[in-house]
Symmetry: D2
Subunit: 174 residues, 4 copies
Amino acid sequence: MPNPMDTIRILVTGGTFDKEYNELTGELYFQSTHTNDMLRLGRCLLEVEIETLMMIDSLQMTAADRALILERCRAVPETRIVVTHGTDTMAETAAVLGAANTRKTIILTGAMIPYTFGSSDGMFNLGTALAFVQTLGEGVYVAMNGQCFPWDSVRKNKSMGIFESVDLDTRRLS
Amino acid sequence: MPNPMDTIRILVTGGTFDKEYNELTGELYFQSTHTNDMLRLGRCLLEVEIETLMMIDSLQMTAADRALILERCRAVPETRIVVTHGTDTMAETAAVLGAANTRKTIILTGAMIPYTFGSSDGMFNLGTALAFVQTLGEGVYVAMNGQCFPWDSVRKNKSMGIFESVDLDTRRLS
Amino acid sequence: MPNPMDTIRILVTGGTFDKEYNELTGELYFQSTHTNDMLRLGRCLLEVEIETLMMIDSLQMTAADRALILERCRAVPETRIVVTHGTDTMAETAAVLGAANTRKTIILTGAMIPYTFGSSDGMFNLGTALAFVQTLGEGVYVAMNGQCFPWDSVRKNKSMGIFESVDLDTRRLS
Amino acid sequence: MPNPMDTIRILVTGGTFDKEYNELTGELYFQSTHTNDMLRLGRCLLEVEIETLMMIDSLQMTAADRALILERCRAVPETRIVVTHGTDTMAETAAVLGAANTRKTIILTGAMIPYTFGSSDGMFNLGTALAFVQTLGEGVYVAMNGQCFPWDSVRKNKSMGIFESVDLDTRRLS
């Protein structure tokens, strides 16, 4: 296991994870990240550095946004990075980061239900992501549904709202 | 990484994790485990087998109880096991399991706040435990506060309500 | 006070009160009313009859919808009625019901935050509405923000997300 | 209806309403009242004056404590008072206040589940209490379970955890 005192970088990009409900308009929107609150609630004592890169729905994420995420993954001093991300295009961003071969351990995670709505899967997913990032070797992974998928064999099943392995699925079909 | 389709055994022993509030008496008590609810809330899709061994406060745990936990760790077919446990004597049980050298990966976890009280660290800890159990090799570990401690170098700091590494602490003092 | 055993009719029309989060689309929608859950959570022992008339955003409410609400207020045997309603046009519906002079006690209430989002004002408002409906005489009222406004002197201040008395406001300005 | 701008005095005495969970000891205890948080969450815009008289379990309440509550009910300038109180002896305190004939409207309320445990009946009860206190005439009442009981005909049914009318019960038995 890595030295638990090594700092983990958390790069925030938005996604359902951090959505809020605007009670004046009845719409969902982004304010600031809840990652700090969640870590406090989880009594997390890991040394983390939280950095908000953007606060957007991942369907709005552009190639330039992904380039920025990659750039920050490369530039930060930490070799262990968690990226919070909307689920809709999480696999695409993972592919960009994976193909770039940064020689770091990068875990993307997110949520299906906003943290502020009380019954969030975000706390659980953040827990898995922070554990995977400490124990896995170099590579880019998606941590969702308790599982950890390598970047080159994962996709979101949008009709079911879950992540699945592309390979596994192929095997099942054959 | 292990095959994500390998079943993980979750052995439930009670602890704050699963405490309930009795509104007639105003006291905390145990009913049945919330592990299933928590996994559903976390949208966890790992294959797990949940087995309740006991539902007790870990201060009440006896040598016989620990012998039973060890026996079940050995007897179950799974090689990856999560034990939910009260925090007060989690390190003692970890020591019993660790010394027995079961050749399995066993993660003990728990919570400072009951799941039913809404603001629980249980969801976060359960997430970390399920991730550590998939990625770590043989051994017995305590997963609390986002960290993972080997059984032979962990203790609960009861005045602060956190877990800490014995070695680390020694180094700090020297 | 009225006989507490007299049944209270609750007419459900939708509104933020009953909105849900669709985790597949990330949108808010209506399923079925949470009124029963809320009464159970509130340990409410009043005899109530819950009837869902529609499940809509009150901005979508038509004159025909309001005519139906009025018709049901008249037709039900109960003389004490609570109408759950979106806040945006609650005052308009109150005006339709008030002008009709049904000789019943009718309280409209709602919420700014969906009940399913955890931090709802719905529980509080439902409590006030059920108390006001037991104690006020014939008339139509809006119960929001802990207050009870007669139908002919209330409006929603949409920029602040609160209800206010029209008369009171006039007095303040003069 | 009374002028909604009249201030309501809220006298806090403790009770389950305000209990907290001490994560170091695993015990329930009192810190400071949550009444303000609850009113904010309920978007309550009534003018209230919150005063903490004591923070105790109502089973610990002495005659001297009740004398203090009565004294404050008399001394405060407001004629509309809500007393938050443990449920176990709420009826006893109501009887003391009721017999004293203060010529004010006094509503006692409380909760079966602590507010901090998420699924509290406290928000609902506080809503009913604040509505009853605005609409009822002079007298002392217990507001629980959505109902409002005069002080001289209410008791807690401890085996069921609910409040019931003494008279009503007599009628049922006859």
